[in-house]
């Protein structure tokens, strides 16, 4: 079933906490979160407030996803070279 905006909003209301970290704090912690995820697989357990923010905040979540992709490629020594990226950017 396709989740409607109302469905997504009700889930966000359900998951709302009395206190939530701001986008700035999330940005501060997200690199640690990503590296924990890659090294231990348990970032959400160690930094639950970051996981909670990422579930609520679309823009921070998108940035986290790109950061994770890039960090994984770096860890696997599979970073794309600039020329490849520039060619893709021109498409």
């Amino acid at each position: 079933m396709v989740k409607t905006n109302l469905t997504k909003f009700v889930r966000r209301v359900h998951d709302t906490r009395d206190t939530e970290i701001s986008c700035s704090v999330c940005l501060d912690l997200v690199s640690q979160y990503v590296d924990l995820e890659i090294s231990t697989g348990d970032a959400a357990g160690k930094l639950p407030q970051v996981k909670q923010h990422l579930d609520q905040c679309q823009v921070c979540s998108e940035e986290y996803q790109v950061l994770r992709q890039l960090a994984v490629l770096e860890a696997e020594q599979r970073l794309p070279i600039d020329e490849e990226l520039i060619n893709q950017l021109k498409k």
Binding site: M1, T4, N5, L6, T7, K8, F9, V10, R11, R12, V13, H14, T16, D18, E20, S22, C23, S24, L27, D28, V30, S31, Q32, V34, D35, Q56, C57, Q58, V59, E62, E63, V66, L67, Q69, L70, A71, E74, A75, Q77, L79, P80, D82, L85, I86, Q88, L89, K90, K91
Partner: protein
């Protein structure tokens, strides 16, 4: 090659003077350009009307801005992640914000402004229908509570911001720019709105897990 320096080696090289610093700065510049290029490539849909030479210029601008941010914030680096991961996030943050704003620059948010106060936007496109005959009734009850909170307990600015981000899918960065605000303030505004709705549902005796099940 990123990852060949330890965190401490990055900090030492960037903090020192001379040729070692110059080499480290050039390495950092390349690293941030890669982050910007990678980010824009993963979000090409945001740039589909941008000429290709402008795309490359945008990546370079983002890398330059990220470089300044990294150098200003170098003292904040605590070593609880790899230095490269820490640096990448600034390049990604800047590049994604710029890409989102580009995509939405032609769209007037005034056209998406709250209407006549009927809050019709709140329920549009929703299909509150199911085989269970009681479920639509209970869904409508919950929707009415939410609608009432929106109408009576949120400010016009809160209502408008919530509409744009949660129901019109306008990226927060775009709303932040148009409101001349910042992400933290807009996030807090949304959080306050969600919390008021949640508290009102609880106060009226709703089990939140059941409420969520109603809309799955």
């Amino acid at each position: 090659m990123p990852g060949t320096r330890s965190n401490q080696e990055w900090l030492d090289a960037l903090s020192n003077q001379g040729i070692q610093q110059e080499i480290a700065l050039e390495e950092l510049r390349r690293l941030l350009l890669r982050a910007a290029l990678f980010t824009l490539v993963t979000h090409l849909a945001d740039l589909h009307e941008m000429p290709e030479e402008e795309r490359l210029a945008l990546a370079e601008e983002c890398a330059q801005e990220a470089m300044m941010t990294v150098l200003v914030r170098l003292g904040d680096f605590r070593g609880d992640s790899k230095f490269t991961t820490w640096a990448y996030k600034f390049g990604i943050n800047i590049a994604l914000s710029r890409a989102r704003r580009w995509r939405w620059k032609q769209v007037s948010l005034d056209d998406l402004a709250d209407d006549d106060g009927t809050l019709n936007w709140f329920q549009r496109d929703e299909r509150l229908q199911t085989a269970d005959s009681e479920q639509p009734v209970r869904q409508r009850e919950v929707v009415e509570v939410i609608r009432e909170v929106l109408r009576t307990q949120l400010t016009a600015r809160q209502r408008q911001t919530l509409k744009l981000i949660a129901f019109d899918n306008v990226p927060m960065d775009v709303v932040v720019q148009r409101l001349d605000s910042n992400r933290n303030a807009v996030y807090k505004l949304l959080h306050d709105a969600r919390l008021k709705i949640k508290q009102q549902l609880v106060r009226r005796g709703y089990d939140l897990a059941e409420v969520m099940d109603l809309f799955q």
